[in-house]
Every structure is written in C-alpha cells, then in structure tokens.
C-alpha cells in the first residue's frame, strides 16, 4: 500500500454554535473536485494577477536585500572588523544568525519528511511551502560561514578539493563536519523539493496558455506524463528521500551544535547540545512556518487547503518542542549551578542570568518558556492572530538563545584578564536584516511562480481518489458530508 492512500476514520461531533473542534476539521474543506483543486492552486501562479501587497512586500524585501549586498561588499573590502566581533568574542551575530537560520530550515524537512513517514496527511497542504522555506533559510544560513571568515575568497578551502599543495581540510574540526552536514542538507532538501514538484510542474505546463511558460514549465517538469510506472518508482524514490532526510535533519543541527559542544568554552562544552539544538530548531522552524502560512493562507485565500486543523497541529508541535527547549534550559542551569561542581560552568551560568547580558537572558526565558504555555489552550491555538504573534515572539526568543550560547559565553571564559564585551555595529544589523529581506524575496518569488501546495497529493486526499471497493471509502464520504 502506498502511504498516500492512508486516511483515518473519524466521526464528526455535533456542531455546537459555530465552533468546530479543529481536530475534526477535515484537511480539505468539502466540495472540492480534482479539477477545482488544480484550478485553485494553479491559478495562483497562472491566472491571478499579482496583488498589490505582493509588490509592497517585494519592495521592502529587496531594499533589505540590497542592504545585505552593500554590507557584504564593504565586508569583503574592509574585513570583518566592520562587525563588532572582538578579541574574546570571535563569533557573535554572524554565527548566531547562521545557527538560527539553519534551525529555521528544520521545520520544512521535518514536515515533509518525518510527518510523511508518520503518515500525517495534514502535512500535505503545507509541506512544499515549508520545504521552500527550508531551502531559502539554508541559503541565508550558508552566507554566514562563508562571510564570517577573515578572507572569504578562500572559504572554499573548507571543502575537500584536491589541490597542488596536497593540503586537505582538517577533518577533526567540527567546522568541516558542518560543511559536510550543511551542504548535504541543502542538496538533499533541494532535490527532495524539486522531485516533489515535478508532477505539479507538469500540471502547470498543461494548463498554461502562454507558450513561453509552457516551455519553461515543460522544461522544469522534465516531460512528466503521469505514467503509472513512473508513479511507482517516483513514490519509492520519494519515500526513500523522506527516509534519508529524517536522520539527516536530526544530524544537521546535532553537528552544528558540535561546533560548540566540542569547544572547551564554558557554556559551549555541553553534552546535551545535540537534542537541545534540534528541538530548538524545530521549535523556531514551526514558528516561522506559522509566521508565513497565516498571512499566506489569508492573502491567497487558501483556507480550504490550509485549514484550522493545520494551524492547530502546528501549534501543538510548537508547544511540544517549546517544552523540550524549556526543559533543556532548566537542565543547562542545573548542570551549571548545581551538578557540574565546576567553577567555570557555575560562573558562566551566573553570568548569563545576572551578568551584563542578563536582560537578554530573561527576555529569552519570557519568549521561549513562558509564551508557548499559552498554546495549551485550544482557543489560542485557533486564534490565528495570537498564534501569529506568538510565532514571532518565539523566533525572537530562539535568536536570543543562540546569542546567549555563542556570544555571551565567549565574552567571559577562563581568564578574567581577557574578559570582554560585545557590541554590534550597524553592519551587524544590516547583514542580519539583509538576510531576512533576501528570504522574503525568495519566498515571494516562490509563491508567485511555483505551485505552493502539492496538487497531486491533495487530490489523493479526496474520496474520489480511491478506486471503487476501497475499504475506507464510505467512512470518508461520511466525514465530508457531516462537516
């Protein structure tokens, strides 16, 4: 049996004064046919004329992106001294942003791969969207390791390229592990995303009337014609990719966390980092998915496909990961203050909580530990506005968490004589804001030019998609009718 054809039995509860228990809201609002799905989704790309807000957002995004271009140009000409990094604090915003962006990416892969393996059908409406998010996030992340080096034009030395000197990367260095992890992650996410899109690109090819677009989409769809033989291999490949991406996504942030866990700096040297970082990654990732999906479903009027049920589920995932993250904070504090019995660790923790950066620490606790608790209430999970705000708060919190771990630990390590303080410059800010802008631009282009919701997968969720005599057919009908 193909994973696509699974669905669950559900009996809808009586509808009481307009309120619908989201867990019983179907994944697709009733009344849709294969054609209507095709039409609704492909029209966003092919028919619909570009809305005003899109241009507005594009303008804002590109302004920031240009700022990024400027900042990086200056950086290449002047050196990273234009940032605030200093002697004890060799890494600050640069690597903070790197870790944060990578983390963002994780939600995409998680939704598309892990939820796929877990046969969570509700993922189908949002997986491509979040995969795209992954890819663009990893692009943003990738900029920092390259440009944070003193001599960016030599950054390629981190890759294992044969060279006349016969010198290779130093494979014992976590940074090299990073190179492998991140590049693998990017490549496979891209492949996974693209392969997933091929049939839908075929659909666009067949629907558009513009010859140019026909050529473009025809090219991109690789001549997909929906042969059932192709479909079978396609499904296998897709399943395998999902299977591979699952351990991959877990490994990537584990490896990233090893940059610090392998170091000896108090606040870095911690064995709990891999799970801690992964949880944080998923947490921030889902937050960003919400930040993007909530407006998108409204603006493109996709409420039929991205229903309360999705919103609700993502809220639940955030709550869960949020709790894991909070648990990690407690454990970190416990290690530092009580368990380790190591003065450096103890001081590091005290310094975080009461040192020069204490404010940020407590803001971070507020954002990441207190805020998610609201998600216990279903009403809040279903209030998209509140959820939107929470998702943004969480992302701020996660950024602060990375900053606390990376920069604040560095400012005061072993020898009091070399303690310092980090202050960002305008260029730190330009660079970070710039990546946000770049990300926005890429998302907007994606939404406008690619099928942001997988059509064929949605179609399979329709009752009609099951050949007659299918055991679960009846029940599904029932649900649709009742809802």
């Amino acid at each position: 049996m193909s994973a696509f054809q699974e669905t669950e039995l559900r009996v809808a509860p009586p509808v009481e004064k307009g309120y619908r228990d989201p867990s019983f809201v179907p994944i697709i609002e009733p009344g849709h046919t294969f054609d209507s799905i095709t039409e609704k989704i492909s029209n966003i790309v092919l028919e619909m004329n570009t809305p005003r807000w899109w241009f507005g957002a594009m303008l804002v995004g590109s302004c920031f992106a240009v700022g990024l271009l400027f900042a990086l140009t200056v950086l290449v000409f002047k050196g990273i001294g234009i940032w605030g990094n200093n002697q004890p604090t060799g890494w600050a915003w640069d690597i903070t942003n790197f870790v944060w962006w990578i983390g963002i990416g994780h939600a995409g892969t998680l939704i598309s791969a892990i939820l796929f393996l877990l046969k969570q059908e509700w993922r189908n409406s949002i997986n491509r969207f979040s995969e795209a998010m992954t890819i663009f996030a990893v692009m943003c992340a990738g900029m920092f390791p390259i440009f944070h080096t003193g001599r960016p034009w030599l950054a390629y030395w981190l890759f294992p390229l044969p060279n006349t000197m016969g010198v290779w990367p130093q494979f014992k260095s976590p940074l090299v592990w990073d190179v492998f992890a991140v590049s693998t992650y990017f490549t496979l996410s891209l492949v996974y995303w693209y392969i997933g899109m091929v049939p839908d690109l075929g659909t666009l090819r067949d629907r558009t009337r513009k010859p140019l677009l026909q050529k473009v989409y025809g090219f991109l769809s690789l001549g997909w014609r929906g042969s059932t033989r192709h479909w079978s291999r396609y499904e296998t490949a897709y399943l395998l990719l999902a299977g591979l991406c699952t351990p991959l996504v877990l490994s990537v942030h584990s490896v990233v966390s090893m940059d610090f866990a392998v170091g000896i700096v108090p606040g870095w040297h911690s064995t709990i980092f891999p799970p801690y970082f992964v949880a944080g990654a998923v947490y921030s990732g889902f937050a960003l998915v919400l930040t993007l999906v909530i407006p998108a479903r409204r603006l493109f009027n996709l409420k039929d496909f991205i229903t309360q049920r999705h919103i609700d589920n993502m809220g639940k995932v955030m709550l869960a990961t949020g709790l894991i993250v909070s648990y990690s904070y407690c454990f970190e504090a416990f290690f530092g203050l009580v368990y380790a019995g190591n003065k450096y660790e103890h001081f590091m923790m005290m310094n975080r909580m009461f040192g020069p950066y204490a404010t940020f620490y407590w803001i971070l606790i507020l954002c990441n530990v207190i805020t998610p608790q609201f998600l216990w209430w279903r009403k809040i999970r279903n209030n998209t506005i509140v959820l939107f705000v929470i998702s943004i708060v969480v992302n701020i919190g996660m950024w602060l968490e990375r900053f606390e771990i990376i920069a604040v630990s560095l400012t005061r390590d072993f020898l009091p004589s070399s303690w310092g303080y980090f202050k960002p410059t305008i260029f730190d800010m330009l660079t970070f804001a710039g990546t946000l802008g770049f990300f926005l631009v890429m998302m907007l282009l994606f939404m406008r030019t690619m099928p942001m919701i997988p059509m064929y997968e949605l179609k399979m969720l329709l009752p009609a998609a099951r050949p007659a005599g299918h055991p679960e057919q009846g029940s599904f009908e029932e649900e649709v009718v009742s809802a």
């Binding site: 294992p160 014992k172 490549t187 996974y192 033989r229 079978s232 499904e235």
Partner: protein, 183 residues
C-alpha cells in the same frame, strides 16, 4: 525514425474520468491478454500500475539508493582518513592521525548525500526522464492527464495488438473517448 517506421502508430488510448474506471479498464485489458500498455494518471494509483503489469520487483530504485549509500559511506571515511593520515599527516592537538570517532559525522553525511542523490537520479534515469517528447502528448486532451482525467494506452508493440480490435475493446470499457496515438 526506425521505431516510427516499424510502428507508425504508437497505440490506442482511452480516456476515463475516475480512478475506479481506469482501474477496472486496466484490469479488463490485462484479462483480455494485453501486455504492453500503460496508464496515465494525475496521481499514483497503485492498483492501476499493478494492473498494467508493473510489479514491485521491476522497481530498482531502492537498490540504487542502497548501493549509493554504501559507496558514500566508505568514500567519506576513506577521504577523511587518507587526508588526515596518509596524504598529509599532521600532528593536530596531539591526537592520532586517524581518530575514528572524529570521522563519524563526515562518514554519516556522505552516506546520506550519495544515497539520496542515487535514489533521485536513479528514479529519473529508470523512468527515462527527462523526456521532452513523447507520442502520448499528441493525443488531444492528454493535457488533462495531469489534472483530472485518466488514460489507458494499449501500445502497438503489444503482440496481440490490432488497431481495430483494440479500439473496439477500449470502447467496450465505456471511456469518455478513444483516440489513436500517432507515433
């Protein structure tokens, strides 16, 4: 060209409007003894692919993935240990030249990378994609194959192929339309 000469006609294609219909049609065609045929659907329908005679055993994608994974893993570890211990051995922090635990991440990542790529590329190659041209595209309305229509094509290469008979047979499956596919 040669192909075209031998089979001026690619086959006969019937269009259906529901998964059930195409499934039944495919099964009937199989019962009728047709072997070389293919179905075109907007989304995968496993029953159909079995009906048109594509068995699980024909699917070699998983094998490609496995081989890729093995090569990737060994490759990754070899690269790391040769670079660190053979081609340019250096005393790094007093560690041995080849400390195996430190090479695990690289090994793991390269395994995943190559495995994934071979799965994806393998799938495309086995599917003969990319294929910019294919006779079935000549069928008017075939563009709906990616929307909401389901097509069954009995190909001219079928030993039992006889255009008249095939057309008749397909019509008997009450399709919405039957068309001759130009080669």
């Amino acid at each position: 060209m040669k192909h075209k000469k031998e089979y001026p006609i690619y086959g006969v294609m019937a269009e259906f409007d529901s998964p059930t219909a195409i499934m039944l049609a495919a099964q009937k065609a199989r019962d009728a003894g047709y072997r070389v045929m293919d179905a075109y659907t907007p989304f995968p329908i496993e029953e159909v692919s079995e009906a048109v005679g594509f068995q699980r055993k024909h699917n070699k994608v998983a094998l490609a993935c496995l081989i890729g994974g093995i090569l990737g893993g060994t490759g990754g570890y070899t690269l790391a240990s040769c670079a660190a211990g053979v081609w340019f051995p250096l005393n790094i922090a007093g560690r041995p030249f080849i400390p195996w635990p430190m090479f695990i991440p690289v090994t793991f990542e390269s395994t995943i990378l190559i495995a994934g790529l071979s799965a994806a590329i393998g799938m495309l190659v086995m599917n003969g994609l990319p294929a910019p041209y294919h006779p079935v595209f000549n069928v008017p309305g075939f563009s709906l194959a990616t929307n909401d229509r389901f097509f069954l094509c009995i190909e001219a290469r079928d030993p039992k192929y006889d255009e008249g008979a095939v057309t008749e047979f397909l019509n008997s499956l009450n399709p919405t339309e039957v068309t001759r596919v130009e080669g």
